[in-house]
Symmetry: C2
Subunit: 199 residues, 2 copies
DNA sequence: GCTTATTCCTAACAGTGTTCGGGAAGGACG
DNA sequence: CGTCCTTCCCGAACACTGTTAGGAATAAGC
């Protein structure tokens, strides 16, 4: 009932072209026109599939969030105890940022989308829920001796710690030669110990 | 020996005009032309005082860094013990981000400058050194029982924790209603405890 | 063979950072 | 006085950006 599309899945091929460009140049330097050219479309045609450049980036960020969530989920299984699992999740978070820098920055480095309030952005609902589930387990295992902090508070603190490590390494300490992973591990371990989650 | 300048200190008035605009709109939405108009210059004239828009923002970021450093320095005195001082510094870091959002984002929210490697950016050399001095003291006070982690490692971990909290509150959790400060305090306290710095 | 819906593009608009060339203004010097 | 030179400043343009309006091509349904 219509003119045939150039690609089997134009939306997908646009997304892939965009991601490829972003990986090499950084999302803030990738223009809509460049994406269009790489995907074999005219600039205006992208608007058939995305409301705006922001919409395109938001879609890619959503996919990145899914990848991050899956990675964290796998990491949670590696810990032999609930507390160790939390450390693994934190490390996986930072590793993800290091190894998929542009994915991470797509998620957390775009001020335009970060400026709007929480409910509209929630970019990492799924990754965050992985952390919360881990905390719930660890708090249960720690039992009485645990902090009286809530699950939300503890989850936020752990997320923030890992997020800070990731953010620094990916932005202002990028290129700085140091064994960050070792420091991250001791930091996260110290944090779960200090929160009385350790076993 | 020259034509008189429009303002006594044109560079300063440009910087102030820019900062005013940035505070209300966010640095990424402020155009050079808007700054020029607000300062009473033509767009081209700004290039008499700054190499580029980036240069202007970098200058503002430097001033923000100084303000942050001074704030942290004051906070370091509030702690009754070296360990407590570290917690205060961390809290001051996050408070600064909350209360001077645009200053903080100018420092840590501009990917363009964050993408280049460490030596060229080091935006927070002074703030960071405040943390390191605090850690040195706390490690000394803790003596033998302290972790065998280096000053740099401990400083990095503390910085990262505070930075993560600040970053999340200023970006993706912005607008979310919660008592972040309480969580931040327990988190930072737990961290210094877990690092065997507490007294 | 129409109609209708979808896909796609050309052309344009308003905005951006930046550069070029020159005008205006005043101190220094003949 | 007039000339030079330097500094300050601007208008106009360039190449780029995201976005939109309007129309052409292509196929399916009737």
């Amino acid at each position: 009932m219509a003119r045939p599309t150039k690609s089997d899945d134009p939306r997908r091929s646009i997304l892939e072209a965009a991601r490829a460009l972003i990986v090499e140049e950084g999302h803030e330097k990738v223009s809509l026109r460049a994406v269009a050219a790489a995907a074999g479309f005219s600039p205006a045609s992208l608007y058939e599939y995305f409301d705006s450049r922001e919409d395109l980036l938001k879609t890619l960020a959503g996919e990145a969030s899914n990848r991050l969530g899956a990675t964290l989920l796998k990491a949670a299984d590696k810990g032999k105890t609930p507390a160790a699992a939390l450390v693994e999740v934190g490390l996986a978070y930072v590793d993800f940022a290091r190894e998929h820098r542009e994915d991470f920055l797509l998620l957390f480095g775009r001020l335009e989308s970060a400026r709007q309030s929480f409910s509209e952005s929630v970019p990492s609902a799924s990754p965050y829920s992985v952390v919360m589930n881990g905390v719930r387990e660890a708090l249960g295992a720690a039992g009485r001796r645990a902090t009286q902090a809530t699950v939300e508070q503890v989850s936020y603190v752990l997320w923030a710690a890992a997020h800070g490590m990731a953010m620094l390494q990916v932005t202002h300490l990028h290129g700085f030669d140091a064994d960050f992973r070792a420091a991250d591990r001791t930091g996260l371990q110290a944090l779960v110990r200090g929160l009385d989650l350790a076993d």
